[in-house]
Every structure is written in structure tokens, then in C-alpha cells.
Amino acid sequence: MVHFKIQDVTFAYPDTTDRPALEHINLEIRQGEYVTVCGASGSGKTTLLRLLKSVLTPHGTLSGEILFCGRPLQEADLREQSSKIGYVMQNPDSQIVTDKVWHELAFGLESLGYDQKTIRLRVAEMASYFGIEHWFYKNVSELSGGQKQLLNLASVMAMQPEVLILDEPTSQLDPIAAADFLNTVKKINRELRTTVIITEHRLEDIFYASDQVVVMEKGKIAAVDTPRAVGAFLKEGNHEMLAALPTPLLVYYGVEEQKNSAPLTVREGAEWLDTFFADRTLKVSAYEAEAPYEEDEIKDPAVEVKELYMRYEKNAPDILKGVSFRVEKGTLFAIVGGNGTGKSTLLKSICGICRPYSGKVKIFGKRMEKYCKGELFSGNLAMLPQDPLSLFVKKTVREDLEEMTTGKNKKDREDEITRIAKLCQITELLEKHPYDSSGGEQQRAALAKVLLTQPKILLLDEPTKGMDAIFKKQFADILKELNNQGITIILVSHDVEFCAKYADTVSMFFDGTILTTNTPRNFFSKNSFYTTAANRMSRHIFENAVTDGEVIELCQKNL
């Protein structure tokens, strides 16, 4: 059965003079299919998904026809669409309506007017299917981001939808919670035959499971095909979305010419490497090793942290348990580690938002407390918080930036803003409301605001969360440029691939302390779980290869 048939759909938002948001879309989605929609930010993915549910359809002019189960979508009333088409959005917090987990699960069923007995059974079913029995009675405010998003999914599934639409559901989650969430979606698709239509930045976890991949570009569909065929298509056109593909595919395309048997997962990638080297002799088997990292050799650190202890309340457990490290000037220092281990607290302690009860923080060799009021933040230190939205307090991005300028006359201030806007590539956003831009754009606008304090040390909390692969690359370039200007960057992240590619030093944070600090190559090639996909697929053949580029290079040396 065909669930959705989209016939020549064109959609334009009101009051826009430029191209329509969607142009001549034709797509057929069969029952039980897993469809991944990918494309750069602003390519019309969200608009397309929202058209598939009448109550969420934005205002604008729509031409063409959308058929749901063979009849026009509008003919299905609110009640039918509510129960048959489930929709999960990006922000975990704003989607939750009630204050208790059990009540949230029942919300949709209450709206549809089911009786007690039915609701009780369905809620119980959902709670056990999603493994949420042990937090069933909790307040939603006590849940982690991953649990909240799982709750959103479960409360949609309680209505037993036939189609599940997910709009970047994991962009606010850390990689482990995200992988968990996507696995649950896969399980639903496999076990219940629920049709899944999903947009995602992190293709690693869903690309291989998809039946159809739709590539969107500037409001049009550039390609619809199986994952391998789409991969080949992107490679052929050297498409900008190429960077978003899973690592095994990228390595494969960097080495092989043949396109139809490309590996999609780490396991397939490793197997392909085996067959690739089965009839070749291995001439070069290791990437050049780096000198081990010696923290003691840093003579004049930008930031020095000594034996830092911190807890939020007198009777609460310690969050930081004796953290010590030094950061060299002008480098990118990355701290990786699991959720809730205290990484954000560490950053907050370095810039004085939290007060540690014991230990020292030295900024350029001087105790933090010795800096007089305001001195620390004017030209020394600045922090970019995890949620970029919390930095915006004005109506336009320009006004927000103006708040930070220090120049004497108007001309100076404008020059300053123009320079920073150019550096962060947000010139065209300046007159917009900060909330009207995409996640990646907001992140860069927030960075611009922070940079206007002209810090010598920049603290970043999860900056790559919710960024697509293209933005990530640009973001990394900006950070490199800042490093070149002599700015020291300390970055807290879950994004292993990002840290492996761009950091100068990587630290592992666990249980309130820093366990080990090393250069990215030494760090990741020694780990076997907490490492990059490129390393995992190639570690049985190559030593020290951490990024996809390095694996490709080694393969080519052996050709």
C-alpha cells in the first residue's frame, strides 16, 4: 500500500519574493518504509514534512496534491490524522505538555476521548515497550534530554500511528542518547511496520537502515534512491552533502572506483578493507606517530587549573573531584566524556559562573580572584553556553551584537560588527530576529556575540550540537582562524569526530576528573570504543589512523 503520494507539490510562504520553499516535489512512500530526508539547512526538509500533516502545515500557497492512503490528505479529519500520523519535533522540552510522565503518555489518548480502561492499557504497553516503567511516576523536569525525547516518541506511539514523522529528533541530544533514540525508531519500524519519515544531520546512525534516501536541494528533490545509489550520486556530482555521509562510505569513495557495493556501516567498512588488502601487500601500515603529549612542558599556560573541587550544595555530591590541567596558548583544547559527568560545570567554574570550594584557576598565570571586577571579561575570557538561544536578548542579531561593542564612535562600532559578522559568516542574518535562523546559524551568531568581547580565551560548551556537516566544517574553519589569531579555545564536546579532526589536544573527562590528556592521534588510536568510526573500521590494519582522510591516504599509499 502507498501511504503518501506527493504529486507535483509546490509550496511558497506568503510575502516571499524569492523561490518557493518547495518546487515540483514528487514522492511516493509505501507502507513500512524507512525514508530518510537529508539536505543542507534551509533546503525545505521541515516544510516538506509539515505538509504531510494538515494541522502543522504552515501558511502559504500550495499547489499539487498530497494523497494519504489513496485519498487527499485534507479529507482525513483532525481526529484521524492525529491518531494515524505521529509527529515528533526537534526541541524535547517544548513538546511536553504536562508535568508528569504518565500524564504525558496519556495526553493524546485523552484528547481523542478514549475511556479509562483503554488508556490504562495503552499507557502500560508504551511504558514497557519503551522501558520507561522506572521513571513512570516522575516529574518531566527530572528527566534527561534523551529521556524527554523518548517520552515524546512514546506519547506519539501511544496513539498507534501508521506513519511516524520525525523532524531532526536528535539534534539536541548527545551522541549516545541520539543513537539510543534512533535505535528505538528503527525497532518500531521493524517490529510494528510503522512507516518512518525522518530528517537527520547524523546520517551515521540511520543511513544504512533506510529504504529510500531523499536528497533535498534548494526546495527541490535532487535524488531519491537506495542509500548506496544516493551515495554514488553525491560522489559523482561532488555534492555539498557528501560531507554528511557515514565515514565508511567516504573512505570507500576516496579509494575505490566501483560504486555498487559500498560499505555503509563500520563492520562492512572493516570487511571491505580486508578484501581490499587480501591480494595486496601492505607497504605502509601506520600513519606517522606523534610525539607523546607532555603537559609539564607547557611553560606559560593560558589557563591552569589545579585540584578543583566543586559541588552545588553543601550536602550534594562533588561534581568536580580534583580537576587539574594546563592549556597552551593559541591551541584548541577539547574535553570529551559522557553526559552528566560535570564537563559543563568545569567550564562554568573556569569563568566564574560556579564557585569551586577548593582549588585554583589561573588565567595567564594570575589567580582568577585577583582580577578586579569586569577585567576578566573585558578582553580575557568569554564563554559560549550550550544553548545559543540563551545569549540573545534583543530583537535583531545586529542589536544583540551592538550590545557588546566597545568602540568609541558609531563608525568604529559598525566596523567591529561588520568584521565579526564576516568572520562568522552571518552578514545576511544581521537584520533578522535571532530565533528566525536555523540551529547552525544561531550557533554562529552566538559565537559572534561572544567574540565581540575580544577574548584571549574562549570557552565553548557543546558548540557542534545540532549542526549539519556543512556548517560544522565552516565552524571548524572559524575556530582555526581564531587559533591563528592567538586565541586559546577550550571546547567541551561529545563529538568525537570533530575533536579528532580539529583539536590540538584531547582530554578524557570521567567521574569529575580528567583521566588522560593527549594529542588526538595518540588519544583516539589508543581507545577502542571511545574513538572515531574511521579508527574503528581500520584499526585492525592501520595504526594511528584516526580520521577518514588519513585512512584514505594510507590506502592510496598501498595501491
Binding site: L78, M89, Q95, S111, Q116, V123, C351, G352, F377, E403
Partner: protein, 295 residues
């Protein structure tokens, strides 16, 4: 912490609290007061974590109110002593003060345990049947107020991290900063509200008449308990109608003894009613003691 009684159906809890607080305010008879003070405190003891501070505070309130009442009210026939050029300090006024203080303390103690045991969802459940729309709004208020509070802290922290906090600034600076925070929070809340309303619509809100789901179920035992409670209430009301609540402290003490049948019945009903949570707690302890002993 929450023993068996508090796992019962919320309607039982609501009836219990309405009954205790109302009758606690009506009965001034010393025997009734003694009952209510003993059981309110024992009920509080079984649910509260921090007991000592509250109870010592209540004792202080009790003593102060009792001792001070005769100072403001000199009427009464038995003069204990005179002070300040002949002003009387009478036994009747002291007794009246004690009775008032006991009533005040019990009502406060009932409210203290109410605070601990009646969580928002129980309260909402009791009213969702009567006022479904209002209870939905209340649920959302309970959800979103704390959320806004947390986001406000986030914005303040973010501004601290770029040196824009006005924490140590002048009054004018702090006011301006506060306004800025509130306006930022408002935009954020409106933005979030759009998502929330989409999420509600997409789950069929407004597609027809709503039902209201509850996780509580009437068990056989609870029905019996409810019946017993109603019987107690009948006894209490009967006693009140017959004038059992009448007692006079001023100007002369007029306290009827318990020989009247209706007053005795009322007292028994009253004690049985108030003792329910305490009794449930004690019985549960005993049951566990025996079970453990047998193992």
C-alpha cells in the same frame, strides 16, 4: 517515606483533609482538641522528614498563644494573680487561650502534612472531573512555570559568561538588566509556546470531547475505608447537631462531661476518623514485623 495510606485513592485523602480541617476548626471541647492534636502530630510524624524543627516551632506557638491570651483578655471569674495596678490574669482566659492555641496548632499541622502528601497530580485529579478545562490549564502551569524559572537562570548564567551580568551594579543597572532578562524570557517562552501548541494539535487536542485519565483505581479495601470514613462523618455531624460541640470558656468554664451518649459517639467517631493514617502506618509496621519474624 509514604506509607500505605498515602498510596490510596486521592479522593480519600481529600475527604480526610476536608474532614479534619473543618472539624478541627469547629470543636473546642478539650477531649476533641486532645484527639486532634495527638493525631495530627502523629500523622505528621509518619510522613515528614524534618520533624524536630517544625514540632518545636509548633510547641512554641502553642505556649505563646496560651500564655498571652489572658494578657489581652482579662475577663473570667478565677483570678490567678493581678499585675500592672490590678489587671486580672484569669484561669478561664488561660484555658481559652490553650484551647485556641491547640486548634491553631492542629490546623497548621494538618496543612503541613497536606503539603507533603497531596502532590499536584492528586489534587488535580480530584478537580479534573469537576473542572476539566481548569485542571488542564493548571497542569500546564505546573509544567511551564518551573521550566521558565530554569531558563531564566540559564540566560543569567550566559550573560555572566560574557561579562554582562549586572549583579554588582547600581540599582538602575540591575533594573535594566532584569527587564532585559524578562523580555528575552518572553520571546523564548512565546517561541516554545508555538512548538507546544503544535505538539498539542498534532496529538489531537481539540478534536472532540476530552476524557481525563487517572492512574488511581478503587481497590476493595479502599471502598471499605471510604464507607467507614462516611460513617465516622455521620457520627460527628450527629454529635454537632445535638450540640456536642458546645463549650464555653468565658466568663465561666462550662465544659460538659462525656456522659451524654451523642457526645461520646461523636468523640469516638472523631478519634476513629483522625486516627486513620496513623493506624494504617502502625498496622503496616506490625505486619512487616510479623512477616520478617516468620522469615
Amino acid at each position: 517515606m509514604k506509607h500505605i495510606f498515602w498510596q490510596y485513592h486521592p479522593v480519600i485523602h481529600l475527604i480526610f483533609y476536608i474532614g479534619t480541617v473543618l472539624s478541627g476548626m469547629l470543636f473546642m471541647h478539650p477531649a476533641f482538641l486532645a484527639c486532634s492534636i495527638i493525631f495530627s502530630i502523629s500523622c505528621y510524624m509518619t510522613v515528614a522528614k524534618e520533624k524536630r524543627r517544625f514540632l518545636s516551632g509548633m510547641l512554641l506557638v502553642f505556649l505563646l498563644l496560651s500564655v498571652l491570651n489572658p494578657v489581652f483578655n482579662p475577663s473570667g471569674s478565677h483570678v490567678l494573680f493581678t499585675y500592672m495596678a490590678g489587671r486580672h490574669y484569669t484561669l478561664e482566659a488561660l484555658c481559652y487561650g490553650m484551647a485556641m492555641a491547640a486548634m491553631f496548632v492542629t490546623v497548621l499541622t494538618w496543612f503541613a502534612s497536606y503539603q507533603i502528601t497531596m502532590t499536584s497530580d492528586k489534587f488535580l485529579y480530584c478537580f479534573s472531573r469537576l473542572l476539566p478545562a481548569v485542571s488542564m490549564v493548571l497542569t500546564m502551569v505546573l509544567r511551564f512555570l518551573p521550566l521558565y524559572g530554569r531558563h531564566l537562570k540559564k540566560i543569567a548564567d550566559a550573560r555572566k559568561g560574557i561579562g554582562k551580568s549586572a549583579e554588582n551594579g547600581t540599582l538602575k543597572e540591575r533594573t535594566e538588566d532584569g527587564m532585559l532578562l524578562v523580555s528575552a524570557l518572553t520571546s523564548w517562552a512565546l517561541e516554545g509556546g508555538m512548538v507546544t501548541s503544535s505538539a498539542m494539535l498534532s496529538r489531537g487536542y481539540g478534536s472532540g470531547s476530552r476524557t481525563s485519565f487517572c492512574i488511581y483505581k478503587w481497590r476493595g479495601k479502599e471502598k471499605c475505608l471510604l464507607f467507614a470514613m462516611l460513617a465516622d462523618i455521620v457520627l460527628i455531624v450527629y454529635c454537632m447537631i445535638k450540640g456536642g460541640a458546645f463549650v464555653s470558656y468565658l466568663p465561666v468554664l462550662e465544659i460538659a462531661d462525656l456522659s451524654d451518649g451523642y457526645r461520646m459517639a461523636g468523640l469516638i467517631g472523631y478519634a476513629a476518623f483522625l486516627a486513620i493514617p496513623t493506624a494504617a502506618y502502625v498496622m503496616e509496621e506490625i505486619r512487616w514485623f510479623i512477616l520478617r519474624y516468620r522469615m
